[in-house]
Symmetry: C2
Subunit: 394 residues, 2 copies
């Protein structure tokens, strides 16, 4: 009993965090419930056509399968479903007509061959990356409807009535979904992408802002909050989410600050560069707690320029993230990027000067030198990100 109680409490807690992390999840669930109840009740209370069983069913089915978390997802599935059904109905009727010409014995054979060919060809087309990304669901519905229509064995007149019923119910279901999805607290894939890319840049910024202090005083203040050192790890795996969001965003109409043909691909470029930067940071992070630490004198010499580079990179990225969020020109970023470059030059001068005088061995100063070298690479990355954000803002 105690174990069961603990488990219930644990599940309840995880439900609560899930809702708190993103309250839109709760709203989405309620929206699905609402759309489904609406459609169900309309068909329950007014048995159109020949009762609920056959036609109204398709409205419920449509709502359940096409209602997605984002508006783009719902629209993409809805449009795919609608057009695929139309096309497949037409082709299915044609297939039946063709098969009729072969007499009673030939008909099933011809139909079988047609279903086989179209199903195989359509299934193969789903392996094309472009079709997979945008029309996967449409192709599925196409295969489904084509087989249903062509093998149904109804006469053409019956089929036309059926197709009319089915299309109108799908339309009702689809329209309900789209209206509920857009009108009640809409979740836009485009806006999600926008925020995701900005927050990813911000995560990199937090790391770089904190890196200097963390690396050069690695044994002090170890009790403080170090979550900023972990944030960048999410950026490493952000590619699939960004790709999906960018794809769904192209299905969405203009909304808020985003026009219909907002340059979503530009966000993917920024995302790719952010990941590039995150890879560098991942390598950099390996040196924060490394066993071999450079001798203290050498570290002191490079401490100031290194901290400067890292902090200015962080500030540049912060202002770039802000510029993405507010869709303004990132003017202050240029200033910080210039500061970065100045700091890089300063560090280079230090490094040129330091060698001949001291007899520290290279092995000892290697980790610190590597950190400096990777910071140089990060500056290049930050510059590229800055350029891409500038392109986006114009």
């Amino acid at each position: 009993p105690d174990k069961a109680k603990a488990k219930v409490i644990r599940v309840a807690k995880s439900i609560k965090t899930l809702g708190q992390d993103d309250p839109r999840r709760i709203i989405h669930s309620l929206k699905v419930g609402l759309a489904l109840t609406l459609v169900s009740l309309v068909y329950y209370l007014r048995p159109l056509y020949d009762g609920f069983g056959v036609a109204g069913m398709w409205a419920v089915l449509t709502v359940v399968v096409i209602f997605e978390f984002t508006v783009g997802g719902t629209l993409s599935k809805g449009l795919n479903r609608g057009f695929a059904t139309l096309l497949a109905c037409a082709l299915g009727l044609g297939a039946q007509h063709l098969a009729c010409l072969f007499g009673n014995k030939g008909q099933p054979i011809v139909l079988g061959i047609l279903v086989f060919l179209l199903a195989a060809a359509s299934t193969f087309s789903r392996f094309f990356p472009r079709i997979k990304a945008r029309y996967d669901y449409g192709v599925l519905i196409f295969i489904l409807t084509f087989s249903l229509v062509s093998v149904s064995g109804y006469r053409v007149e019956e089929l036309l009535v059926m197709a009319h019923q089915r299309l109108s119910t799908i339309l009702v279901g689809g329209a309900t979904c789209i209206v509920v999805s857009i009108c009640i607290c809409p979740v836009w894939a485009g806006e999600n992408l926008h925020n995701l890319v900005a927050s990813n840049v911000e995560k990199l910024a937090s790391y770089l802002e904190g890196f200097g202090g963390e690396y050069f005083q690695s044994h002090e203040g170890s009790n403080s909050d170090k979550s900023f050192l972990q944030g960048y790890k999410n950026v490493l795996d952000s590619k699939p989410t960004e790709d999906t969001m960018a794809n769904l965003a192209t299905w969405e109409p203009g909304h808020g600050r985003f026009g219909f043909r907002h340059p979503w691909k530009q966000y993917l470029k920024i995302g790719a560069l952010s990941r590039q930067c995150a890879y560098q940071i991942e390598t950099l992070n390996g040196y924060i707690n490394s066993d071999i630490q450079a001798p203290i004198e050498f570290r002191c010499k490079i401490q100031e320029p290194c901290t400067q580079i890292s902090a200015e990179c962080g500030k540049a990225l912060k202002s770039l993230a802000l510029a993405i969020k507010t869709m303004t020109v990132p003017s202050s970023a240029n200033f910080h990027v210039e500061n970065c470059k100045t700091a890089v030059k300063a560090l280079k001068i230090v490094l040129k000067a330091v060698s001949p005088e001291h007899d520290e061995d290279l092995l000892g100063i290697m980790p610190a030198l590597t950190v400096a070298s990777i910071l140089f690479q990060i500056v290049i990355c930050v510059e590229k990100i800055s350029e891409t954000v500038h392109e986006l803002s114009t």
Copy 2:
């Protein structure tokens, strides 16, 4: 006309490459066509129950939606669909029974509330990562069937007949899919994962084997094939594919060399370490064509141990990849890992010795030192991969 012709040729070529890259795609398409034709014809030729329209439709629908590329995918969708339908039918009947108690006026209200609550709760449950990964499709079908049954307005006796029909047709459709999927050239998700992980390790190995030659003679032989320098980039983004495959693999029965409870999670560990190594390589790769090259004398000094480390790491990874593929104990990998460590020691000695005598400035030798330093990190990574592969092989 010329443009159209060129386009047709281009499409035809891309179809050909798609098929050549993975002939299993063609076979899969034919399998889907076959399963669909079989089910369609059975229902076309023998109009069981009340004709094809209502019940047989579900068999066709089931085949189209649950037939996936891998056996694991088909099984997971099939089982999800089966169990969800059963559960939802039972609950739907219960809901109708409950609603009946409230009289003619109360019935639609109670049903509406029940549909709303269950749909909202189920939709919310899909946000749990665990449910999302394994039971997403089941929850969808659950919402669908529950709404259909509870709002259908049929009497219980009618419903039982309908439920019986529907379940038996789903069973026929599902069984056809599973039989075709397993018996004709099966594509196992587990085997895919196995091969993917091994080939990823191999890609890292190819890079490291070639790195030494590439870095230290960067201006010679630039015409030769350098595709081995790009392979590791696929590893960077391999996480989602690996996660999906590992998830589907748990649905599969034992097959070939893999038992029912094969430790698929171990592959994910190897995959994560491979990505870790790929991140390091990504940073390393930035130095191959960097503008600042270390002075030639210094490079000569570290050339041999660096090339040694990189080549031995590559050999170790190659033999680990082979061991994963053949499911044997990677005995020769140990030998190469030991060689790596020896080379690391040799390089450390060189680095300790080199400093005081020469007056090269630190800035000049920084890139070469960074390469050495990252190679040290890669050796640590390779050791970890070796350990994990050993765990897998025992």
